[in-house]
Symmetry: C2
Subunit: 336 residues, 2 copies
């Protein structure tokens, strides 16, 4: 029974992950540096190669579906990339449905990466048991995904819930690559880290000089060792992430906010700070909003793709009103 | 046929409006200064008096329903005020269902004032014909309401969509009365105007000295006459409202953003500035988002209450699945 395998590709700004999943389980994966020098068309052959490698080495002859988690705005109904943000800008021109069909004869699904991570956590990770979930993913960029009252939020033009990284938290702040001013992403993402260091008013000249050399991992390590400059940068970014979380709570009224992305290796520093800020500043009289760490880590979006692909295929084959099809990994019966 | 009359009360921070409506039409109303020295319990007798005056002077013997638009968080299903913000703080203890029943034997409905204004505009005003609408109301406080894909947004704890005035747009900014820091409301509402003037780094000492004397109407008039201080205050507030509108667009993905509140008498200055900011900074590749002025003006929330009361009564009498009941003023048939 190979029919239930799916391939999920998370096309990150720094790392591309290709996963082989079956029935809510990540069976095998490849993790490779994204080719930041290439556009999307030129990146696809490497991805095809990784997919074929996974299929061959796991003896998979037929795919149930192929999905891509994309760092931009996506129309998931038409499988079209709507808009990018200085990454894979040629994506809007591609016919990816056809790409998947021609290569593997498989149905295709694409959505925003942070939205898919939220879906993954909601179905299989830290968001299980909740019906109102916000996830913020702090990576190269900063993304968000929202589930409200058991429904994934898309909005009129597929933007709602996924542009949290582009909420203004400093209306006089830095220009973002999205075109807006003072976005969470422009003030506190890896993509902007060297600018954050270079523009900072209170850092030492020597630290600023080497702004290109640092990533968040080093900033957190140096801060841990008491480096004054790194502490300033770290604490300011955490404060901005905290302001973002408060905005998500005020905007979407969730039961839980899940924090994800590579930076969450430092969750022991980040989460208590944000929890404190939320309990002090968020207006939540009805119930305390939990702030938790992603439990699927870097793979949340892959799980989200698995869920969405299975749901898409179920809806197409059985119609949207069918409710008897198992969609969770705990359901051991074969899918539909 | 008196059965279709409803009373709608908009309990503003500065002005309280009591309207008599029938079938989507505002038949008569009373507009009186809110008693800022009183709590809600002590304010109710004046409201009762205004309601009875309207009923008597219009010969109305029986009410179809009574509603209140409240400037705080409300559970509209249970008719309970959940949380206030330095206005009518005793509201959370009141049994308003009983209040309406004892006085007029009428069903009762209560919801957040800005959400109701959004509903009013969506059904009867500038939002007609759209199914994804955000409204921002700039008054004593700053509120918001959201309709997404034809559904009014409530969220898990009735907060979603209505806390736009408490989005952080300056994470290092002023403490708000809601407990949060750098909210839109704390930086650009009437409630905070004297603090905005007093704290401003670039205003003349004489202007600051008389901070208590100004309201937005005077600020806009003085700015129009070229007063440097007033121009600074006015332009900074418009810039903050613009940042708020961008956040609403990024959060909720609407087709249209409606601006309301008393300040919209100056819409000829405000709207072009915000439109320009939106077209420059908002990430909206799929469609231009319109920025328009409320067409129901100060009465939007009253119309929203009329719609919600009629919908509540219809749902209770005929069940939620009934779809044949006319709900719009253009439908001339009697309700249900």
């Amino acid at each position: 029974m190979n029919m239930k395998y799916i391939i999920a590709v998370d096309l990150g700004g720094t790392i591309t992950k290709v996963g082989l999943l079956r029935n809510g389980e990540l069976v095998d994966y490849v993790k490779m540096p994204s080719r930041q020098d290439l556009d999307m068309t030129a990146s696809l052959p490497e991805i095809e190669n990784a997919i074929d490698f996974l299929l061959n080495s796991n003896g998979v002859k037929r795919l149930f579906g192929v999905g891509i988690a994309f760092p931009g705005l996506v129309n998931n109904k038409k499988s079209i990339i709507i808009s990018t943000n200085e990454k894979y800008d040629d994506g809007v021109e591609l016919d990816l449905d056809r790409w998947a069909d021609e290569h593997w004869g498989a149905p295709f699904y694409i959505d925003n990466d942070a939205r898919l991570a939220a879906i993954g956590e909601w179905q299989y990770g830290s968001g299980r048991g909740y019906d109102s979930v916000v996830m913020m993913t702090i990576g190269t960029g900063i993304g968000s995904g929202v589930i409200m009252n058991g429904e994934v939020m898309y909005g009129k033009h597929f933007q709602a819930g996924s542009l949290g990284g582009h909420f203004v938290v400093d209306y006089k702040g830095r220009l973002c690559s999205c075109g807006n001013k003072g976005c969470v992403e422009a003030l506190s993402s890896s993509f902007f880290l060297h600018k954050i260091i270079k523009d900072h008013a209170c850092l030492s000249p020597s630290f600023k000089m080497s702004s290109q050399n640092y990533d968040f991992k080093e900033i957190f390590q140096l801060a841990e060792q008491g480096n004054r400059d790194a502490l300033l940068v770290r604490n300011e970014c955490i404060e901005i992430w905290g302001a973002a979380v408060i905005n998500f709570i005020h905007a979407y009224d969730p039961e839980v906010v899940i924090l994800g992305g590579g930076i969450m290796n430092s969750h022991k520093v980040i989460v208590p700070y944000i929890e404190e800020r939320v309990s002090k500043f968020a207006w939540t009289p009805s119930a305390k909003v939990s702030v938790v760490v992603s439990s699927l880590g870097d793979y949340a979006a892959l799980y989200g793709l698995e869920y969405c692909l299975r749901k898409k295929i179920k809806d197409e084959v059985f119609g949207k009103s069918s409710v008897s099809c198992p969609l969770k990994p705990s359901d051991s019966a074969p899918l539909c």
